[in-house]
């Protein structure tokens, strides 16, 4: 949609499409359709040569005026949902008196901090709580599992979604330091199916649904692909 507006304003545009059916319906002027995982429009993290090849394919469409143009990039990359990374070891239980999710989250802090250093301080944690607040968010998820409602906790739907994203980001960023060469959705799969906190948040989502909590929160607190 934006491409139409920008072109009418006099800007030449070319975009990446990750969903061919959407591009076919919206008919933007020039689009390169890529069969890459959602979230990875340039295809491969930390592969400058590959990313540049995608950009060059986009720029190659700029001279054309036979719009709408929808070209396919010749290489495909599939997501790896359901496949946790080969090696992504969780820390051993340190304090058995703690809830497994809290003990686990505390044990991952060093890995999270290493990733923060590796990215120059860039983190996706912080929508509703900083890294020092992650354990507190998990404690509140445990309270919901015990019977508290979202209203009891004080979370509106957007806050609930933000909690899901902050906790996931903390784990995925720690996971980047524990696993090598992770494909799309592998750390997502690891978090939701192999960690105590990920399994907790899935149970909480199911309880929210049973208790008929707000539909927006139920739908978006975890990915639809990790139910």
């Amino acid at each position: 949609m934006l491409a139409h507006v920008f072109e009418q304003a006099g800007l030449a545009t070319v975009g990446i499409s990750l969903v061919r059916g959407q591009a076919e319906a919206a008919k933007p002027p020039r689009m390169l359709n890529v069969d890459f995982p959602l979230g990875r429009p340039l295809g491969k993290p930390n592969d400058a040569e590959f990313q540049t090849s995608v950009l060059m394919a986009m720029f190659g469409l700029l001279e054309r005026t036979d719009v709408p143009i929808l070209e396919d990039f010749p290489e495909s990359i599939e997501d790896q949902t359901g496949e946790a990374p080969d090696s992504c070891s969780l820390p051993p239980r340190h304090n058995p008196d703690l809830h497994a999710a809290i003990d686990e989250a505390q044990g991952l802090r060093n890995a999270y901090d290493r990733n923060l250093e590796a990215t120059g301080g860039r983190t996706l944690v912080g929508r509703i709580a900083g890294v020092d607040g992650i354990v507190g968010l998990i404690e509140q998820l445990i309270e919901i599992e015990k019977g508290s409602s979202l209203a009891d906790i004080g979370w509106d739907p957007m806050a609930t979604i933000a909690v899901g994203q902050d906790v996931r980001a903390y784990y995925e960023e720690a996971g980047l330091q524990l696993a090598d060469n992770t494909g799309a959705r592998q750390l997502e799969t690891w978090f939701y199916h192999h960690t105590a906190t990920g399994q907790l948040i899935r149970r909480v989502r199911d309880l929210m649904k049973e208790r008929e909590e707000d539909g927006l929160a139920v739908t978006y607190v975890i990915p639809m692909t990790q139910g």
Partner: protein, 150 residues
């Protein structure tokens, strides 16, 4: 069926506005053009990271790399973007293409929208925020805009 294939199947074919595509013709070689990124990943500058659901946009200074993901949807891979911002926001790649002489220069600022719009008419983007965003780029002397989704 892989997860992304399932999501693609769910969202394909959703109706779009009935707009006639137009094509701006470049008046000069790409090697002399100023290029901007307009991402629909819902990226924001650090410190401004509340979840995002409306049709507004934000300005991302070209040199900024401490960007945050404010997109409300959890339904896409985030680890790639976390590991390498260029996976969805290829600002470093564009700088390299300037050095290589492929493009002329990069914009002073790039733009960010949140791509999963709830308003199926897109009226606000078509009438308000879209034209306002385009004007910012035109005022900066931008010739070419590349769109990157998530």
């Amino acid at each position: 069926m892989a997860a992304d294939a399932m999501i693609r199947k769910n969202v394909s074919g959703l109706p779009g506005p009935d707009l006639i595509p137009t094509a701006t013709v470049l008046g000069k070689p790409l090697s002399e053009c100023k290029v901007a990124i307009c991402t629909t990943a819902g990226l924001r500058s650090a410190g401004d990271i509340k979840l995002w659901m409306d049709s507004s946009f934000t300005i991302l200074p070209n040199a900024a790399r401490d960007l945050q993901l404010s997109h409300f949807s959890p339904n896409f891979d985030r680890a790639g973007l976390t590991a390498d911002l260029n996976t969805a926001y290829p600002a470093d790649r564009l700088n390299e293409l300037v050095d290589a002489g492929v493009i002329g220069s990069v914009a002073t600022n790039n733009l960010s929208f949140m791509g999963a719009q709830m308003d199926a008419t897109f009226s606000s983007i078509i009438q308000d925020t879209g034209p306002a965003a385009a004007q910012i780029l035109i005022d900066d002397g931008v010739d070419v805009v590349i769109f990157t989704p998530v």
